[in-house]
Protein backbone atom coordinates (compact mmCIF):
# COMPACT_ATOMS: atom_id res chain seq x y z
CA UNK A 1 0.00 0.00 0.00
CA UNK A 2 0.99 3.58 -0.34
CA UNK A 3 3.27 5.33 2.07
CA UNK A 4 2.04 7.89 4.57
CA UNK A 5 0.80 10.88 2.63
CA UNK A 6 2.69 14.05 3.41
CA UNK A 7 0.82 16.30 1.00
CA UNK A 8 -2.32 16.56 3.17
CA UNK A 9 -1.89 19.39 5.62
CA UNK A 10 -4.25 21.16 7.93
CA UNK A 11 -5.88 23.96 5.93
CA UNK A 12 -3.70 27.07 5.99
CA UNK A 13 -4.92 30.00 8.05
CA UNK A 14 -7.32 31.68 5.62
CA UNK A 15 -7.93 35.14 7.02
CA UNK A 16 -10.22 36.20 4.16
CA UNK A 17 -12.50 33.23 4.74
CA UNK A 18 -12.53 34.00 8.47
CA UNK A 19 -13.38 37.66 7.81
CA UNK A 20 -16.39 36.46 5.84
CA UNK A 21 -17.79 35.12 9.14
CA UNK A 22 -17.85 38.61 10.71
CA UNK A 23 -20.67 40.74 9.28
CA UNK A 24 -19.53 43.88 11.12
CA UNK A 25 -16.18 43.86 9.29
CA UNK A 26 -18.05 44.77 6.08
CA UNK A 27 -19.04 48.14 7.53
CA UNK A 28 -17.76 51.43 6.28
CA UNK A 29 -16.99 54.28 8.65
CA UNK A 30 -17.36 57.68 7.01
CA UNK A 31 -16.99 56.08 3.57
CA UNK A 32 -13.84 54.12 4.49
CA UNK A 33 -13.72 50.37 5.14
CA UNK A 34 -13.72 49.72 8.88
CA UNK A 35 -10.26 48.78 10.20
CA UNK A 36 -11.13 47.47 13.64
CA UNK A 37 -8.04 47.52 15.87
CA UNK A 38 -9.70 47.88 19.27
CA UNK A 39 -10.02 44.18 20.00
CA UNK A 40 -8.51 44.42 23.48
CA UNK A 41 -11.50 46.55 24.48
CA UNK A 42 -14.00 44.21 22.86
CA UNK A 43 -13.88 41.78 19.97
CA UNK A 44 -16.45 41.29 17.21
CA UNK A 45 -18.92 38.44 16.90
CA UNK A 46 -18.94 35.87 14.06
CA UNK A 47 -22.15 34.77 12.35
CA UNK A 48 -22.24 31.28 13.96
CA UNK A 49 -22.39 32.92 17.41
CA UNK A 50 -25.04 35.40 16.27
CA UNK A 51 -27.00 32.45 14.80
CA UNK A 52 -26.68 30.52 18.03
CA UNK A 53 -28.15 33.44 20.01
CA UNK A 54 -31.02 33.67 17.55
CA UNK A 55 -31.67 29.92 17.71
CA UNK A 56 -31.69 29.96 21.49
CA UNK A 57 -34.00 32.94 21.64
CA UNK A 58 -36.36 31.65 18.95
CA UNK A 59 -36.60 27.98 19.96
CA UNK A 60 -35.03 27.23 23.35
CA UNK A 61 -35.58 30.00 25.86
CA UNK A 62 -37.02 29.49 29.34
CA UNK A 63 -35.64 29.91 32.84
CA UNK A 64 -33.21 27.21 33.96
CA UNK A 65 -32.95 24.81 36.89
CA UNK A 66 -36.56 25.52 37.82
CA UNK A 67 -39.43 23.94 35.97
CA UNK A 68 -40.20 20.49 34.59
CA UNK A 69 -41.56 21.68 31.27
CA UNK A 70 -39.72 20.93 28.06
CA UNK A 71 -38.34 24.39 27.34
CA UNK A 72 -36.89 24.77 30.81
CA UNK A 73 -35.20 21.41 30.45
CA UNK A 74 -33.81 22.32 27.04
CA UNK A 75 -32.53 25.69 28.27
CA UNK A 76 -30.96 24.08 31.35
CA UNK A 77 -29.25 21.43 29.23
CA UNK A 78 -27.89 24.01 26.79
CA UNK A 79 -26.68 26.24 29.62
CA UNK A 80 -24.87 23.35 31.29
CA UNK A 81 -23.50 22.24 27.91
CA UNK A 82 -22.01 25.73 27.55
CA UNK A 83 -20.33 25.27 30.92
CA UNK A 84 -18.81 21.99 29.67
CA UNK A 85 -17.50 23.76 26.57
CA UNK A 86 -15.87 26.46 28.66
CA UNK A 87 -14.37 23.87 31.00
CA UNK A 88 -12.83 22.11 27.98
CA UNK A 89 -11.63 25.43 26.53
CA UNK A 90 -9.45 26.12 29.59
CA UNK A 91 -8.86 22.45 30.43
CA UNK A 92 -10.56 22.59 33.83
CA UNK A 93 -10.57 19.25 35.60
CA UNK A 94 -14.28 19.48 36.38
CA UNK A 95 -17.22 21.44 35.00
CA UNK A 96 -18.29 22.58 38.46
CA UNK A 97 -15.06 24.58 38.61
CA UNK A 98 -16.48 26.92 35.96
CA UNK A 99 -18.73 29.71 37.25
CA UNK A 100 -20.67 31.99 34.95
CA UNK A 101 -20.29 35.63 35.96
CA UNK A 102 -21.07 38.84 34.13
CA UNK A 103 -17.42 39.41 33.14
CA UNK A 104 -13.85 39.64 34.41
CA UNK A 105 -14.70 42.49 36.77
CA UNK A 106 -17.52 40.46 38.29
CA UNK A 107 -15.27 37.38 38.55
CA UNK A 108 -12.59 39.33 40.43
CA UNK A 109 -15.16 40.83 42.76
CA UNK A 110 -16.50 37.34 43.42
CA UNK A 111 -13.03 36.19 44.49
CA UNK A 112 -12.57 39.30 46.62
CA UNK A 113 -15.88 38.80 48.47
CA UNK A 114 -16.00 35.01 48.48
CA UNK A 115 -12.37 34.29 49.28
CA UNK A 116 -10.75 37.58 50.31
CA UNK A 117 -13.28 38.68 52.89
CA UNK A 118 -13.23 35.25 54.49
CA UNK A 119 -9.51 34.51 54.52
CA UNK A 120 -7.65 37.84 54.44
CA UNK A 121 -7.36 39.87 57.63
CA UNK A 122 -5.58 42.74 59.34
CA UNK A 123 -1.88 42.95 58.52
CA UNK A 124 -2.12 40.40 55.72
CA UNK A 125 -0.57 41.21 52.36
CA UNK A 126 -1.92 40.94 48.82
CA UNK A 127 0.50 41.01 45.90
CA UNK A 128 -0.53 42.73 42.66
CA UNK A 129 1.61 44.00 39.77
CA UNK A 130 2.07 47.40 38.13
CA UNK A 131 0.47 45.94 35.00
CA UNK A 132 -2.96 45.43 36.51
CA UNK A 133 -6.17 46.74 34.99
CA UNK A 134 -8.15 48.89 37.44
CA UNK A 135 -10.58 46.00 37.85
CA UNK A 136 -7.76 43.96 39.44
CA UNK A 137 -6.69 46.83 41.70
CA UNK A 138 -9.80 48.50 43.06
CA UNK A 139 -11.52 45.42 44.57
CA UNK A 140 -8.32 44.55 46.44
CA UNK A 141 -7.95 48.10 47.69
CA UNK A 142 -11.53 47.96 48.96
CA UNK A 143 -10.70 44.73 50.77
CA UNK A 144 -7.44 46.13 52.16
CA UNK A 145 -9.28 49.16 53.48
CA UNK A 146 -12.03 47.07 55.05
CA UNK A 147 -9.68 44.57 56.70
CA UNK A 148 -6.58 46.62 57.35
CA UNK A 149 -4.62 44.49 54.89
CA UNK A 150 -1.78 45.75 52.72
CA UNK A 151 -1.24 45.86 48.95
CA UNK A 152 2.25 45.08 47.64
CA UNK A 153 3.08 45.76 44.00
CA UNK A 154 5.46 43.76 41.78
CA UNK A 155 7.20 46.30 39.51
CA UNK A 156 7.93 46.30 35.77
CA UNK A 157 11.01 47.46 33.90
CA UNK A 158 11.28 49.99 31.05
CA UNK A 159 10.25 47.35 28.52
CA UNK A 160 7.10 46.61 30.50
CA UNK A 161 8.34 43.23 31.72
CA UNK A 162 7.36 42.01 35.12
CA UNK A 163 10.40 41.65 37.39
CA UNK A 164 10.34 38.08 38.68
CA UNK A 165 13.09 38.64 41.24
CA UNK A 166 11.34 41.63 42.76
CA UNK A 167 8.04 39.76 42.72
CA UNK A 168 9.57 36.88 44.64
CA UNK A 169 11.19 39.27 47.11
CA UNK A 170 7.73 40.57 48.09
CA UNK A 171 6.78 37.27 49.74
CA UNK A 172 6.82 36.95 53.49
CA UNK A 173 4.74 35.06 56.06
CA UNK A 174 2.01 37.73 55.85
CA UNK A 175 1.49 37.18 52.13
CA UNK A 176 -2.02 35.77 51.76
CA UNK A 177 -2.96 36.25 48.12
CA UNK A 178 -1.60 37.03 44.66
CA UNK A 179 -3.75 38.63 41.95
CA UNK A 180 -1.87 39.11 38.70
CA UNK A 181 -2.63 39.61 35.03
CA UNK A 182 -1.66 37.03 32.40
CA UNK A 183 -1.46 39.61 29.60
CA UNK A 184 -1.32 43.40 30.08
CA UNK A 185 -4.13 45.18 28.26
CA UNK A 186 -2.14 48.41 28.07
CA UNK A 187 1.21 47.03 26.85
CA UNK A 188 0.62 43.47 25.66
CA UNK A 189 3.24 42.01 28.02
CA UNK A 190 2.73 38.30 28.67
CA UNK A 191 3.71 37.78 32.30
CA UNK A 192 5.56 34.65 33.51
CA UNK A 193 2.45 33.52 35.39
CA UNK A 194 3.34 29.86 35.43
CA UNK A 195 6.54 30.47 37.41
CA UNK A 196 4.85 33.14 39.52
CA UNK A 197 2.09 30.70 40.48
CA UNK A 198 4.63 27.99 41.27
CA UNK A 199 6.53 30.38 43.53
CA UNK A 200 3.36 31.36 45.39
CA UNK A 201 1.99 27.85 45.70
CA UNK A 202 5.27 26.59 47.12
CA UNK A 203 4.56 29.03 49.96
CA UNK A 204 0.89 28.07 50.29
CA UNK A 205 -0.32 31.35 48.76
CA UNK A 206 -3.32 31.15 46.41
CA UNK A 207 -3.16 32.95 43.07
CA UNK A 208 -5.85 34.55 40.93
CA UNK A 209 -4.96 35.21 37.30
CA UNK A 210 -6.72 37.96 35.34
CA UNK A 211 -6.97 36.26 31.96
CA UNK A 212 -9.16 38.87 30.23
CA UNK A 213 -6.48 39.56 27.62
CA UNK A 214 -4.95 36.08 27.54
CA UNK A 215 -7.97 33.88 26.87
CA UNK A 216 -8.59 35.45 23.42
CA UNK A 217 -4.98 35.02 22.27
CA UNK A 218 -3.32 32.04 23.97
CA UNK A 219 -4.11 28.44 24.77
CA UNK A 220 -5.11 28.55 28.42
CA UNK A 221 -4.63 25.40 30.50
CA UNK A 222 -5.62 26.05 34.09
CA UNK A 223 -4.35 22.66 35.26
CA UNK A 224 -0.96 23.30 33.77
CA UNK A 225 -0.88 26.82 35.25
CA UNK A 226 -2.07 25.39 38.58
CA UNK A 227 -3.72 28.67 39.58
CA UNK A 228 -6.52 28.79 42.14
CA UNK A 229 -8.60 31.20 40.05
CA UNK A 230 -8.70 32.31 36.43
CA UNK A 231 -10.99 35.14 35.28
CA UNK A 232 -12.00 36.24 31.78
CA UNK A 233 -14.76 37.96 29.76
CA UNK A 234 -16.96 36.67 26.95
CA UNK A 235 -17.06 39.89 24.97
CA UNK A 236 -13.31 39.88 24.32
CA UNK A 237 -13.62 36.30 23.08
CA UNK A 238 -16.06 36.77 20.18
CA UNK A 239 -18.93 36.20 22.59
CA UNK A 240 -21.67 38.46 23.94
CA UNK A 241 -21.33 41.15 26.61
CA UNK A 242 -22.67 40.49 30.08
CA UNK A 243 -21.04 37.08 30.42
CA UNK A 244 -17.71 36.02 31.87
CA UNK A 245 -16.04 33.14 33.60
CA UNK A 246 -14.49 32.52 36.93
CA UNK A 247 -12.57 29.27 37.05
CA UNK A 248 -11.76 28.14 40.58
CA UNK A 249 -10.26 24.94 41.95
CA UNK A 250 -13.10 22.90 43.37
CA UNK A 251 -11.46 22.58 46.79
CA UNK A 252 -10.91 26.35 46.98
CA UNK A 253 -14.44 27.16 45.81
CA UNK A 254 -15.87 24.81 48.44
CA UNK A 255 -14.13 26.76 51.20
CA UNK A 256 -15.46 30.11 50.06
CA UNK A 257 -18.51 32.05 51.16
CA UNK A 258 -21.10 33.06 48.57
CA UNK A 259 -20.86 36.52 47.05
CA UNK A 260 -24.48 37.22 46.15
CA UNK A 261 -27.54 35.77 47.83
CA UNK A 262 -30.73 34.82 46.06
CA UNK A 263 -32.50 32.14 44.08
CA UNK A 264 -30.61 29.20 42.54
CA UNK A 265 -27.70 29.48 44.99
CA UNK A 266 -29.61 27.74 47.82
CA UNK A 267 -30.66 24.21 48.72
CA UNK A 268 -33.17 25.22 51.36
CA UNK A 269 -34.32 28.44 52.94
CA UNK A 270 -36.14 29.09 56.19
CA UNK A 271 -36.10 32.35 58.10
CA UNK A 272 -33.80 30.68 60.59
CA UNK A 273 -31.26 29.20 58.21
CA UNK A 274 -30.30 28.87 54.58
CA UNK A 275 -28.33 25.95 53.22
CA UNK A 276 -26.27 26.89 50.21
CA UNK A 277 -26.26 24.99 46.97
CA UNK A 278 -23.20 23.10 45.79
CA UNK A 279 -20.60 24.67 43.51
CA UNK A 280 -20.87 26.15 40.95
CA UNK A 281 -24.49 27.07 41.72
CA UNK A 282 -23.56 28.53 45.10
CA UNK A 283 -21.99 31.39 43.15
CA UNK A 284 -24.72 31.87 40.53
CA UNK A 285 -27.50 33.65 42.40
CA UNK A 286 -30.56 34.65 40.43
CA UNK A 287 -31.38 34.07 36.78
CA UNK A 288 -28.06 34.12 34.93
CA UNK A 289 -27.49 35.52 31.44
CA UNK A 290 -28.55 32.21 29.87
CA UNK A 291 -28.46 33.33 26.25
CA UNK A 292 -25.07 34.97 26.72
CA UNK A 293 -23.63 31.83 28.33
CA UNK A 294 -24.85 29.70 25.43
CA UNK A 295 -23.49 32.27 22.99
CA UNK A 296 -20.11 32.14 24.71
CA UNK A 297 -20.19 28.34 24.38
CA UNK A 298 -20.66 28.79 20.64
CA UNK A 299 -17.83 31.35 20.57
CA UNK A 300 -15.29 29.00 22.13
CA UNK A 301 -16.44 26.28 19.71
CA UNK A 302 -15.77 28.70 16.87
CA UNK A 303 -12.31 29.62 18.20
CA UNK A 304 -11.39 26.01 18.91
CA UNK A 305 -12.35 25.00 15.36
CA UNK A 306 -9.83 27.52 14.03
CA UNK A 307 -7.40 26.52 16.76
CA UNK A 308 -5.89 28.76 19.42
CA UNK A 309 -2.39 27.89 18.21
CA UNK A 310 -3.24 28.99 14.67
CA UNK A 311 -4.81 32.17 16.08
CA UNK A 312 -1.71 32.89 18.16
CA UNK A 313 0.57 32.28 15.17
CA UNK A 314 -1.38 34.65 12.89
CA UNK A 315 -1.49 37.34 15.58
CA UNK A 316 2.24 36.96 16.20
CA UNK A 317 2.80 37.58 12.50
CA UNK A 318 0.62 40.72 12.67
CA UNK A 319 2.44 41.99 15.76
CA UNK A 320 5.88 41.42 14.26
CA UNK A 321 4.91 43.16 11.02
CA UNK A 322 3.37 46.11 12.87
CA UNK A 323 6.31 46.39 15.28
CA UNK A 324 8.77 46.48 12.38
CA UNK A 325 6.68 49.07 10.49
CA UNK A 326 6.38 51.28 13.58
CA UNK A 327 10.11 51.03 14.25
CA UNK A 328 10.76 52.51 10.80
CA UNK A 329 8.50 55.52 11.38
CA UNK A 330 10.19 58.68 12.65
CA UNK A 331 8.43 60.28 15.60
CA UNK A 332 6.56 57.14 16.59
CA UNK A 333 7.51 55.27 19.74
CA UNK A 334 6.18 51.91 20.87
CA UNK A 335 5.36 51.77 24.58
CA UNK A 336 5.86 48.27 25.91
CA UNK A 337 8.59 46.24 24.26
CA UNK A 338 8.59 43.05 26.30
CA UNK A 339 10.17 40.04 24.59
CA UNK A 340 7.00 38.04 25.11
CA UNK A 341 3.97 40.01 23.95
CA UNK A 342 0.40 39.41 22.81
CA UNK A 343 -1.15 41.34 19.94
CA UNK A 344 -1.21 44.79 21.55
CA UNK A 345 0.70 47.79 20.27
CA UNK A 346 0.65 50.88 22.48
CA UNK A 347 2.33 53.90 20.96
CA UNK A 348 2.86 57.63 21.14
CA UNK A 349 3.37 60.03 18.24
CA UNK A 350 5.83 62.82 19.05
CA UNK A 351 4.09 66.17 19.40
CA UNK A 352 0.60 64.73 18.97
CA UNK A 353 -1.77 63.97 21.81
CA UNK A 354 -3.27 60.44 21.68
CA UNK A 355 -6.78 61.90 21.56
CA UNK A 356 -5.96 63.70 18.34
CA UNK A 357 -4.39 60.51 16.96
CA UNK A 358 -7.57 58.56 17.72
CA UNK A 359 -9.99 61.13 16.34
CA UNK A 360 -7.97 61.57 13.14
CA UNK A 361 -7.36 57.83 12.59
CA UNK A 362 -11.12 57.37 12.80
CA UNK A 363 -11.31 59.61 9.75
CA UNK A 364 -9.51 56.85 7.85
CA UNK A 365 -11.85 54.21 9.24
CA UNK A 366 -9.21 53.00 11.71
CA UNK A 367 -10.57 52.28 15.20
CA UNK A 368 -7.95 52.39 17.97
CA UNK A 369 -8.24 53.08 21.66
CA UNK A 370 -6.71 56.20 23.18
CA UNK A 371 -6.43 57.06 26.85
CA UNK A 372 -5.10 55.37 29.95
CA UNK A 373 -6.67 51.98 29.13
CA UNK A 374 -7.96 51.60 32.72
CA UNK A 375 -4.34 51.04 33.73
CA UNK A 376 -3.21 54.35 35.19
CA UNK A 377 -0.32 52.81 37.18
CA UNK A 378 1.16 51.60 33.87
CA UNK A 379 0.85 55.09 32.39
CA UNK A 380 2.46 56.58 35.51
CA UNK A 381 5.31 54.08 35.25
CA UNK A 382 6.08 55.40 31.76
CA UNK A 383 5.38 59.02 32.70
CA UNK A 384 2.64 59.30 30.10
CA UNK A 385 -0.91 60.61 30.55
CA UNK A 386 -2.18 58.36 27.79
CA UNK A 387 -1.21 56.33 24.73
CA UNK A 388 -2.87 55.19 21.54
CA UNK A 389 -3.35 51.43 21.33
CA UNK A 390 -3.88 49.18 18.36
CA UNK A 391 -4.91 45.69 19.43
CA UNK A 392 -5.20 42.88 16.92
CA UNK A 393 -7.45 39.87 16.53
CA UNK A 394 -7.08 36.82 14.29
CA UNK A 395 -9.40 38.43 11.71
CA UNK A 396 -7.08 41.40 11.18
CA UNK A 397 -4.82 41.56 8.13
CA UNK A 398 -1.46 42.94 7.05
CA UNK A 399 -3.37 45.36 4.77
CA UNK A 400 -5.12 46.74 7.85
CA UNK A 401 -1.80 47.39 9.54
CA UNK A 402 -0.70 49.22 6.39
CA UNK A 403 -3.87 51.33 6.71
CA UNK A 404 -2.94 52.10 10.33
CA UNK A 405 0.59 53.10 9.34
CA UNK A 406 -0.68 55.31 6.49
CA UNK A 407 -3.19 56.85 8.89
CA UNK A 408 -0.47 57.73 11.39
CA UNK A 409 1.62 59.30 8.60
CA UNK A 410 -1.36 61.47 7.73
CA UNK A 411 -1.85 62.43 11.37
CA UNK A 412 1.78 63.50 11.47
CA UNK A 413 1.32 65.56 8.30
CA UNK A 414 -1.66 67.35 9.79
CA UNK A 415 -0.47 67.90 13.36
CA UNK A 416 3.19 67.17 14.00
Amino acid sequence: MSAVRTDVKAPAFDVERIRGDFPILKLEIGGKPLVYLDNAASSQMPQPVIDRLVRYQTTQHANIHRAVHTLSEVATAEYEEARRKLARFINAREEREVIFTSGTTDSINLVMHGFGRKFIGAGDEIILSTLEHHSNIVPWQMLAEEKGAKIRVAPIDDAGELQSGEYEALFNPRTKFVAVTHVSNALGTITPVRQMIAHARARGVPVMVDGAQAAPHLTVDVQDLDCDFYAFSGHKLCGPTGIGILYGKAATLERMQPFKGGGDMILSVTFEKTTYNTIPHKFEAGTPPIAAAIGLGAAVDYLSAIGMDAIAAHERHLLEYATAAFSRMAGVRIVGTAANKAAVLSFVVAGVHPHDVGTLLNQYGVAVRTGHHCAQPVMQRFGLPATSRASFAFYNTIAEIDALVDGIRNVQKILA
Binding site: P354, Q363, H372
Partner: protein, 162 residues
Protein backbone atom coordinates in the same frame (compact mmCIF):
# COMPACT_ATOMS: atom_id res chain seq x y z
CA UNK B 1 -21.02 60.56 11.93
CA UNK B 2 -19.17 63.87 12.16
CA UNK B 3 -16.32 64.50 9.81
CA UNK B 4 -13.32 65.07 12.06
CA UNK B 5 -11.71 67.03 9.24
CA UNK B 6 -14.38 69.64 9.89
CA UNK B 7 -13.05 69.87 13.45
CA UNK B 8 -9.36 70.03 12.60
CA UNK B 9 -9.80 73.15 10.49
CA UNK B 10 -6.88 75.36 9.53
CA UNK B 11 -7.72 77.96 12.23
CA UNK B 12 -7.55 75.27 14.89
CA UNK B 13 -4.36 73.76 13.51
CA UNK B 14 -2.82 77.23 13.41
CA UNK B 15 -3.70 78.03 17.05
CA UNK B 16 -2.38 74.60 18.03
CA UNK B 17 0.94 75.25 16.30
CA UNK B 18 1.26 78.85 17.43
CA UNK B 19 -0.83 79.31 20.54
CA UNK B 20 -1.55 82.99 21.36
CA UNK B 21 -1.11 84.38 24.88
CA UNK B 22 0.94 81.29 25.75
CA UNK B 23 3.09 81.79 28.83
CA UNK B 24 2.91 83.30 32.30
CA UNK B 25 1.68 86.58 33.78
CA UNK B 26 3.57 88.56 36.41
CA UNK B 27 1.37 88.85 39.49
CA UNK B 28 -2.02 87.89 38.08
CA UNK B 29 -5.11 88.92 40.02
CA UNK B 30 -6.83 85.63 39.23
CA UNK B 31 -5.54 82.19 38.31
CA UNK B 32 -6.68 78.57 38.15
CA UNK B 33 -5.53 75.11 37.11
CA UNK B 34 -7.69 72.98 34.86
CA UNK B 35 -7.28 69.25 34.72
CA UNK B 36 -8.90 66.40 32.83
CA UNK B 37 -7.85 63.28 34.71
CA UNK B 38 -9.26 61.05 31.99
CA UNK B 39 -6.64 62.03 29.43
CA UNK B 40 -4.14 63.98 31.53
CA UNK B 41 -4.81 67.33 29.87
CA UNK B 42 -3.54 70.06 32.12
CA UNK B 43 -3.86 73.82 31.81
CA UNK B 44 -2.90 76.77 33.96
CA UNK B 45 -4.62 80.05 33.32
CA UNK B 46 -3.78 83.48 34.73
CA UNK B 47 -5.43 86.84 34.20
CA UNK B 48 -5.47 90.41 35.41
CA UNK B 49 -8.83 91.89 36.11
CA UNK B 50 -8.76 95.70 36.10
CA UNK B 51 -12.02 97.53 36.78
CA UNK B 52 -13.89 94.28 36.17
CA UNK B 53 -12.35 93.93 32.74
CA UNK B 54 -9.75 91.36 31.57
CA UNK B 55 -6.66 93.47 30.91
CA UNK B 56 -4.26 90.56 30.42
CA UNK B 57 -4.57 86.78 30.14
CA UNK B 58 -2.15 83.91 29.56
CA UNK B 59 -2.19 80.13 29.64
CA UNK B 60 0.27 77.26 29.71
CA UNK B 61 -0.16 73.53 29.67
CA UNK B 62 0.03 70.14 28.10
CA UNK B 63 -2.96 69.06 26.12
CA UNK B 64 -4.40 67.79 22.87
CA UNK B 65 -4.72 70.06 19.85
CA UNK B 66 -8.41 70.74 20.41
CA UNK B 67 -7.84 71.85 23.99
CA UNK B 68 -4.81 73.98 23.17
CA UNK B 69 -6.49 75.71 20.23
CA UNK B 70 -9.60 76.29 22.31
CA UNK B 71 -7.49 77.88 25.06
CA UNK B 72 -5.60 80.03 22.59
CA UNK B 73 -8.73 81.29 20.85
CA UNK B 74 -10.44 81.82 24.18
CA UNK B 75 -7.68 84.13 25.40
CA UNK B 76 -7.96 86.14 22.18
CA UNK B 77 -11.74 86.31 22.51
CA UNK B 78 -11.96 87.42 26.15
CA UNK B 79 -9.00 89.81 26.32
CA UNK B 80 -10.35 93.33 26.88
CA UNK B 81 -13.81 92.01 27.68
CA UNK B 82 -15.66 92.68 30.92
CA UNK B 83 -16.13 89.89 33.42
CA UNK B 84 -19.82 89.83 32.50
CA UNK B 85 -19.11 89.50 28.79
CA UNK B 86 -16.59 86.73 29.47
CA UNK B 87 -19.08 84.81 31.57
CA UNK B 88 -21.69 85.13 28.87
CA UNK B 89 -19.19 83.75 26.36
CA UNK B 90 -18.36 80.83 28.67
CA UNK B 91 -22.04 79.91 28.81
CA UNK B 92 -22.42 80.22 25.04
CA UNK B 93 -19.30 78.18 24.30
CA UNK B 94 -20.44 75.42 26.61
CA UNK B 95 -23.89 75.45 25.01
CA UNK B 96 -22.37 75.20 21.55
CA UNK B 97 -19.97 72.38 22.48
CA UNK B 98 -22.60 70.27 24.21
CA UNK B 99 -25.18 70.95 21.52
CA UNK B 100 -27.60 72.61 23.95
CA UNK B 101 -27.36 75.91 22.13
CA UNK B 102 -28.62 76.04 18.57
CA UNK B 103 -26.15 78.55 17.18
CA UNK B 104 -28.13 78.87 13.98
CA UNK B 105 -31.25 80.09 15.74
CA UNK B 106 -30.27 81.76 19.01
CA UNK B 107 -28.25 85.01 18.88
CA UNK B 108 -24.76 84.68 20.37
CA UNK B 109 -21.31 86.27 20.45
CA UNK B 110 -19.18 83.25 19.50
CA UNK B 111 -17.91 84.54 16.15
CA UNK B 112 -14.75 82.66 15.12
CA UNK B 113 -15.22 80.27 18.02
CA UNK B 114 -17.90 78.57 15.94
CA UNK B 115 -15.10 76.45 14.40
CA UNK B 116 -15.45 74.31 17.52
CA UNK B 117 -19.12 73.53 16.89
CA UNK B 118 -18.08 70.18 15.35
CA UNK B 119 -17.13 68.74 18.76
CA UNK B 120 -20.76 68.33 19.71
CA UNK B 121 -20.82 65.31 17.38
CA UNK B 122 -17.72 63.83 19.05
CA UNK B 123 -18.90 63.32 22.64
CA UNK B 124 -15.52 62.07 23.83
CA UNK B 125 -13.89 65.30 22.67
CA UNK B 126 -16.36 67.81 24.12
CA UNK B 127 -14.41 68.01 27.36
CA UNK B 128 -11.19 68.77 25.49
CA UNK B 129 -12.74 71.89 23.97
CA UNK B 130 -14.48 72.98 27.17
CA UNK B 131 -11.59 72.57 29.63
CA UNK B 132 -10.06 76.06 29.05
CA UNK B 133 -13.47 77.72 29.49
CA UNK B 134 -14.07 75.64 32.52
CA UNK B 135 -10.74 76.89 33.91
CA UNK B 136 -11.56 80.52 33.06
CA UNK B 137 -14.81 80.17 34.96
CA UNK B 138 -12.89 78.84 37.96
CA UNK B 139 -10.32 81.67 37.78
CA UNK B 140 -13.01 84.35 37.62
CA UNK B 141 -14.66 82.80 40.66
CA UNK B 142 -11.33 82.49 42.51
CA UNK B 143 -11.42 78.69 42.54
CA UNK B 144 -7.80 77.55 42.50
CA UNK B 145 -8.28 74.34 40.59
CA UNK B 146 -10.94 72.56 38.65
CA UNK B 147 -11.38 69.21 37.05
CA UNK B 148 -13.63 67.98 34.28
CA UNK B 149 -14.60 65.18 36.66
CA UNK B 150 -15.57 67.13 39.78
CA UNK B 151 -19.28 66.84 40.33
CA UNK B 152 -19.68 70.23 42.03
CA UNK B 153 -18.21 72.05 39.08
CA UNK B 154 -20.80 74.28 37.43
CA UNK B 155 -19.27 73.43 34.04
CA UNK B 156 -19.41 69.73 34.68
CA UNK B 157 -20.58 67.92 31.60
CA UNK B 158 -20.67 64.20 32.30
CA UNK B 159 -19.92 63.02 28.81
CA UNK B 160 -17.66 60.27 27.55
CA UNK B 161 -14.89 58.44 29.29
CA UNK B 162 -11.34 58.29 28.02
Amino acid sequence: MADPKALYQEVILDHNRKPRNFGRLEQPSHEAQGHNPLCGDHLSLALNLENESIAAIAFKGESCAICKASASMMTVAVKGKSRKEAEQLIEEFRGMATGELDCGKVPHHLGRLLVFSGVRDLPTRVKCAILPWHTLHAALHSVASTSTESGDDPMHAPIGNA
